[in-house]
């Protein structure tokens, strides 16, 4: 008698059958897979265009099965903007790390967000430049030792880390800004729900969405994967608390446009229009 077999787990279609360049224990693999699962579940692989960054995810164009564009360092939101404006029916996402998104590409990030570009940004925050070998990132914590902050990040000279979701949540164009992590199966499931919501918002034309994934870099942190998650929980999560920082629909608005008008209700040119 033939044994009855059931598929309980397999490679998502939107994830190509290739080896990634990620280090063992790197959460990038989890996040890439999660995004691919979402593309499958929403049935949008064929209409999606992804934009890969410069950083550890630079080769992401080889991993995702959807059409892909490789952007210059930090420019993914601008590239995604051009792509989305050209073909508004495409689902366009950018996949970026902290150096790419919050340092060299901060202007592009903020302006894509404030324009309310109807794109989705997946942001991996592991507080370090991974690909170049562990330099200080815009999100490196105070006193964190990196290759270029060998005595620990000195806030007197290097300034303070940027809390991206908090920063972007002040902008009228942002529909969804949420911070998640992927250190446990439960958190992975929560991250997936957030990512799916972000893509759904884009499909529904709600506006710009960003999902920040607090992550680790075992290789450059010099820790085992489990130690790295522990360090992340102890040090990063208090600085970068998980949660929803902006969700216009949950706040009771129909869209970012409606929320923006309400916020500026005492400003006649906003509510009544120009000449």
């Amino acid at each position: 008698m033939a044994e009855e077999r059931k598929i309980v787990y397999q490679r998502p279609h939107a994830l190509l059958p290739v080896n990634t360049n990620y280090c063992p224990g790197c959460p990038h693999g989890i996040v890439v897979r999660t995004v691919a699962e979402v593309l499958d579940e929403l049935g949008i692989e064929g209409t999606t265009v992804g934009v890969a960054p410069v950083g550890c995810a630079v080769m992401a164009y080889d991993f995702f099965g959807c059409d892909m564009i490789e952007a210059a360092h930090g420019r993914a939101p601008a590239v995604a903007t051009g792509c989305k404006r050209a073909n508004p029916d495409n689902i366009v996402f950018a996949y970026q790390g902290d150096g790419d998104l919050a340092s060299i590409g901060m202007a592009e990030t903020i302006h894509a967000a404030t324009r309310g570009e109807n794109i989705t940004v997946i942001f991996i925050n592991n507080a370090i430049y991974g690909m170049t070998g562990g330099q200080m990132a815009p999100t490196s914590l105070p006193n964190q030792v990196t290759q270029t902050s060998p005595y620990g990040r000195d806030v007197a000279t290097a300034g303070y880390p940027i809390r991206v979701c908090e920063l972007l949540s002040t902008l009228d164009g942002v529909a969804l800004a949420q911070r998640v992590t992927v250190d446990t199966p439960k958190n992975v499931r929560a991250a997936k729900r957030a990512i799916k919501k972000a893509f759904q918002y884009q499909m529904d034309g709600v506006g710009y969405s960003i999902i920040e994934v607090v992550s680790t870099c075992p290789t450059n942190w010099g820790l085992t994967p489990q130690e790295a998650f522990s360090w992340m929980r102890e040090n990063m999560l208090p600085y970068y608390p998980l949660g929803v920082f902006r969700d216009v629909l949950a706040e009771g608005h129909e869209s970012v446009a409606e929320a923006a008008i309400e916020r500026a209700k005492d400003c006649p040119i906003v509510t009544e229009g120009g000449k």
Binding site: G46, I69, E70, A71, A78, G82, A86, A107, E108, I110
Partner: protein, 354 residues
């Protein structure tokens, strides 16, 4: 045929781009190209197109990159300091074989420089629009009519060869008005099967990329690209020759300075000096054939430019020591006068090609 209208160079160029099927414009304000962006902001919404004022020149060129990857006819415009910022994106477009049209309405430099007309970005346009092995096609209009015509043709060149194309104009051509006949609109555009428009489950995924971590793979691509450049050099060189057949002194000048050089040549002929003018319309590929055709008859060459002497390098490369090559130019935004150029021609004529 459309009627002749009076338009600024910047506006004629913009309208012509729209008629060539460009529906996406990303830019950032800078003098003296401002009218171009303003014109696009007025017209694009009416054409169902997109005008987007980017947060920076860098963002603008990367939006061009994204829209081009998505298969659109797309354009950006700026002036010299802004072009320096765009060179990053242009290099990536070269590396990813993306078409697109970039306008440089040049002003004086280096640094913040000035805002008066200049041709001091010749080296940048023909040698160094970003890092890495690579060239882009560079077109040099000399009249408002050519601002319109070359912009129109630039989109076809860009799509045919999958390369960025630059229109190297200057503040004079951008700001001045002349009568112009605008080209006819076209709506049928070339197919771009390589574009990232979503595979719809019907083809392998398309990737637009300039990263090749294997040296051999990158070398192979660069060699292939340069083979394409050889085709461009063979097929696309363009120059206008004015009274060069019997000329002793052959002037070489492009864009605004070619207008002045032409006046000087006419004055020289009136004085009995056999002068002629080669006006490169393509700066890259440089019209070597047009110069080569005069090498047997010319006694000397004179490059006239609004810079400290940049294109003269290319003239010397073609002439290759066979005849004297001299230079006359004004810089910083100063426009040379025909009288100044004529004086230089007379001085050279007196030397008799020594």
């Amino acid at each position: 045929m459309s009627e002749k209208v009076l338009m600024k160079g910047n506006e004629a160029l913009a309208e012509s781009a729209i008629r060539a099927g460009c529906r996406f414009f990303f830019g950032y304000p800078i003098t003296p190209q401002t009218e171009l962006a303003a014109y696009m902001s007025k017209r694009m919404p009416k054409e169902g197109g997109t005008y987007l004022q980017a947060e920076s020149e860098i963002a603008a060129i990367n939006m061009v990159y994204g829209a081009s990857a998505a298969g659109a006819r797309v354009m950006t415009s700026s002036s010299s300091p802004g072009i320096s910022l765009k060179t990053e994106g242009i290099s990536y477009m070269i590396g990813a074989d993306l078409p697109g049209v970039i306008i440089n309405v040049q002003r004086g430099g280096p640094g913040l420089g000035g805002i008066q007309p200049s041709q001091s970005d010749y080296w940048q346009a023909t040698r160094a629009l970003g890092h890495g092995d690579g060239q882009i096609i560079v077109l040099a209009p000399s009249t408002v009519q050519e601002m319109a015509d070359l912009a129109y043709g630039a989109f076809d060149l860009a799509d045919t060869y999958r390369t960025p194309v630059m229109i190297l104009a200057d503040g004079m051509l951008g700001q001045m008005m002349e009568p112009v006949v605008l080209p006819e609109r076209r709506d049928e555009l070339p197919e771009k099967p390589w574009a990232t428009t979503g595979h719809k489950g019907q083809r392998p995924h398309n990737v637009v990329n300039s990263l090749y971590l294997t040296a051999d793979a990158l070398e192979k691509l660069n060699v292939e690209r340069f083979e394409r450049y050889e085709v461009i050099k063979r097929e696309e060189q363009r120059a206008e020759c004015v009274m060069t057949e019997d000329a002793d002194i052959v002037l070489v000048a492009f864009g605004a300075s070619a207008r002045i050089a032409r006046s000087a040549v006419v004055h020289a002929r009136e004085k009995g000096i056999k002068a002629g003018l080669i006006r490169p319309i393509t700066l890259w590929p440089f019209p070597t054939d047009a110069i080569e055709a005069t090498i047997g008859t010319a006694k000397a060459y004179l490059s006239v430019e609004m810079n400290m002497g940049q294109m003269v390098d290319d003239v010397r490369l073609v002439v290759n020591g066979r005849k004297p090559v001299e230079f006359y130019g004004r810089t910083g935004g100063v426009i040379p006068t025909p009288a100044e150029v004529l004086a230089k021609i007379e001085e050279m004529n007196a030397k008799g090609g020594e």
